[in-house]
């Protein structure tokens, strides 16, 4: 009882920021007290910064319910200190397993050591941490961003395999310094470096948003004399850039080919409409895989240190079949 009061205090303390999260935490809190026998999972989410993240949260909540796992959910609003607070409260509540998507890569050693001392296994989802001590967490479940960038690059080299001249590429990067932006840039760059005809003529950050994607693409269209391909680190920037390309009197998907990463509903729609040429999936629906892992970890079974989410790629035909069931 005291614990729940304390947890409520944390929620209030984290403050008005959590307006959106309150809806979700009250849903998970209704799992009536300390369920006898049920595995309890404390999950500290990054925030609700995008449609992708919302789908991620919903997947975790839904699959926890269907797997019979008692989920304690918190939303950190992109702040590391909030996540650390949430993890500490999970340790106090003596949950069986803690899972979280770290906001940033470093600074987790102290709180994870506390979890280790309390004998609570930790699972990282979606984003990794940077720590020399690999015993602080059991496993990492998430996407390989480098591989996503490589997939985009491989599609491009195949598409332009027989093209004679230079291929001028412009790149819309994600938020500067974020792991997906760094890795998707690297993976893509590594693959296209094999052939000198592929040239990245301009590369700027579009902050993962449509508005910035459009603004930066407008500038690219004016400063670059010839653009063949746009590589966007996420779908939203590609969708914004499409509007800029159309405004310049060019046909997206034909005059300028577009490849992007994520696979959200609107991008698959654009792919079906022929405005995007290729989408590499970054799967947010890792709930079922996570619950599986939680059961194994709490039963003391061995799990691999790194597990990748199942991900695919979309061309126009694949997008057509996937579109009706796309929830995000």
């Amino acid at each position: 009882m005291l614990n729940r009061k304390w947890a409520a205090g944390v929620v209030v303390g984290v403050g008005a920021l959590l307006l959106s999260a309150c809806g979700s935490s009250s849903g998970s809190g209704s799992g009536s007290g300390s369920g006898g026998g049920a595995i309890s999972l404390g999950f500290a989410q990054v925030g609700a910064e995008s449609g992708w993240r919302t789908a991620n949260t919903k997947s975790i909540q839904d699959s926890a319910k269907s797997a019979g796992i008692e989920l304690k959910f918190s939303d950190a609003q992109q702040k590391q200190e909030n996540q650390i607070k949430a993890i500490r409260s999970y340790i106090q509540q003596k949950v069986k397993v803690i899972a979280f998507s770290p906001v940033v890569e470093s600074g987790w050693d102290t709180v994870l050591k506390e979890a280790k001392t309390a004998n609570i296994p930790v699972v990282l989802t979606d984003r990794a941490i940077d720590s020399p001590d690999k015993t602080l967490y059991k496993t990492f479940l998430g996407s390989d961003f480098v591989k996503e960038g490589q997939k985009a690059g491989q599609w491009l080299t195949k598409e332009y395999a027989s093209a004679p001249g230079d291929v001028n590429i412009v790149e819309l990067q994600g938020t500067t310094g974020s792991a997906p932006a760094n890795d998707r840039k690297k993976g893509f760059g590594d693959v296209i470096a094999a052939d000198p005809k592929f040239k990245i003529v301009a590369s700027q950050t579009g902050d993962f948003t449509r508005a910035k994607g459009k603004e930066v693409m407008e500038a690219f269209l004016k400063s670059q004399s010839k653009i063949d391909v746009l590589y966007a680190h996420n779908d939203d920037m590609a969708l914004g850039a499409i509007e800029a390309i159309e405004g310049a009197g060019k046909v997206p998907g034909k005059d300028i080919k577009i490849v992007s990463v994520d696979g959200v509903h609107d991008a698959l729609q654009a792919l079906v409409d022929g405005k995007i040429n290729h989408v590499v999936e970054c799967n947010p629906l890792l709930g079922p895989q996570l619950m599986d892992l939680v059961k194994k970890v709490s039963a003391g079974q061995d799990v691999p240190a790194r597990i990748e989410t199942t991900e695919t790629e979309f061309d126009q035909a694949a997008a057509k079949t996937a579109l009706p069931q796309r929830q995000y």
């Binding site: 403050g15 008005a16 920021l17 959590l18 307006l19 959106s20 809806g23 609700a48 910064e49 995008s50 449609g51 993240r53 919302t54 990067q173 500067t176 310094g177 301009a202 590369s203 700027q204 950050t205 902050d207 993962f208 948003t209 449509r210 508005a211 459009k214 603004e215 930066v216 407008e218 500038a219 690219f220 004016k222 400063s223 939203d236 969708l239 914004g240 509007e243 405004g247 310049a248 009197g249 609107d266 995000y328």
Partner: protein, 349 residues
């Protein structure tokens, strides 16, 4: 020589010079920079881009100017931008026919009414309850972002209506509508404050609220009014931003625009402590900030160093604006030049 001296002494000289210098730098780097052509039946070019993408910032900064002139500050404009866009897009997306003009106008009306209400809430907190402006508007800045996320359900609402799209992406007689809206807002508000006593009263309240109250100025009502105006400007900017990409993004729309707006006001020569203000200066400040972004894209400055580049330029602008700095600099380079007694313009970074 005399006209030259007067020109240099004009308080908008230095920000305007910085803007021109920045534009010239772009021209040197990319000779096509000033080219404006017709494409797809409308004006097309980098200069048009600066105006078009700068329009929302100009609007927000105009509202911010009056609030700052009264000695206040409004941190909630970014959240109001997000809420306004979210409400309008939600409304349009629920229409049976997204292309209906009546439905679109309804959506715009609701969003603007809500923005006025949010501005009135800020004004109430500050002028009636006497909450410090930075604290009072911080509440809406934080809670408003959550509210926008609630409205959009954390998702990006995409709409297809062409009328709604016209607000930020449409053209009237080949000129982008967003530029015309910003121009109209500038013209109307300038006339309202300068052709009546309103501007003088606001400056009086900002200069010394107690003295102006004793002199019979209804300072409370006046302060309230500036927050309502600021809310309105932010709301229209929100419509523009969401319309430009035909979607509402509760998480990112208008994020940090309050800081850009405050910077634009400061570059424009309005003091953060209140008192004299200049709409013209604010517009130059907003355009300077937008030109800076375009410069980054045109020159191809890598994203890792973008913030540093912007900081250096802004610092340089603020330094040349400071009379104390110019005086010291002038003394060092030409000892014989007599010190010009400038009006005092304080620069706050």
């Amino acid at each position: 020589m005399n006209t030259y001296a007067r020109l240099v002494k004009h308080r908008l000289f230095w920000p305007a010079a910085a803007l021109v210098l920045l534009l010239l730098g772009n021209f040197v780097a990319s000779p096509r920079f000033f080219a404006v052509q017709f494409r797809e039946g409308h004006l097309y070019g980098s200069l048009i881009d600066i105006l078009r993408f700068g329009a929302p910032l100009i609007l927000v900064a105009l509202g911010m100017t009056l609030v700052i002139a009264t000695g206040g500050i409004d941190l909630s404009v970014g959240s109001v931008v997000a809420i306004s866009g979210a409400v309008a897009c939600l409304w349009v997306s629920r229409l049976g026919d997204q292309n209906s003009l009546g439905g679109t106008l309804g959506a715009v009306g609701i969003a603007i009414a809500l923005s006025l209400l949010l501005g009135a809430c800020n004004g109430f907190l500050v002028s009636v309850l006497g909450v410090q402006p930075i604290v009072g508007t911080l509440i809406l800045m934080v809670a408003g972002r959550g509210l926008a996320q609630l409205i959009t359900d954390g998702q990006i609402i995409t709409i297809t209506g062409t009328h709604y799209r016209d607000i930020g992406g449409g053209f009237v007689a080949t000129v982008p509508l967003s530029i015309l809206i910003a121009l109209a807002a500038f013209g109307i508000s300038s006339l309202a404050v300068r052709k009546s006593a309103l501007g003088m009263l606001i400056e009086a309240v900002g200069g010394n609220p107690e003295a102006s109250r004793l002199a019979g100025v209804a300072s409370r009502r006046l302060i309230w009014l500036t927050y309502v105006f600021c809310g309105l400007c932010a709301g229209v900017a929100g419509l523009m931003i969401s319309s430009n990409v035909s979607s509402a993004d509760g998480n990112n729309a208008g994020l940090w625009i309050e800081l850009d707006a405050i910077l634009a006001v400061v570059i424009g020569g309005t003091r953060l402590t209140g008192g004299r203000f200049s709409f013209g200066g604010t517009v130059i400040g907003a355009l300077l900030i937008q030109t800076l972004s375009t410069t980054v894209y045109t020159l191809g400055i890598p994203p890792e160093t973008t913030l540093l580049f912007k900081a250096v330029v802004v610092l340089a602008v603020c330094l040349v604006q400071s009379p104390q700095f110019r005086r010291k600099f002038a003394r060092r380079s030409r000892r014989s030049v007599p010190v010009v007694k400038d009006e005092k313009v304080e620069v706050t970074l």
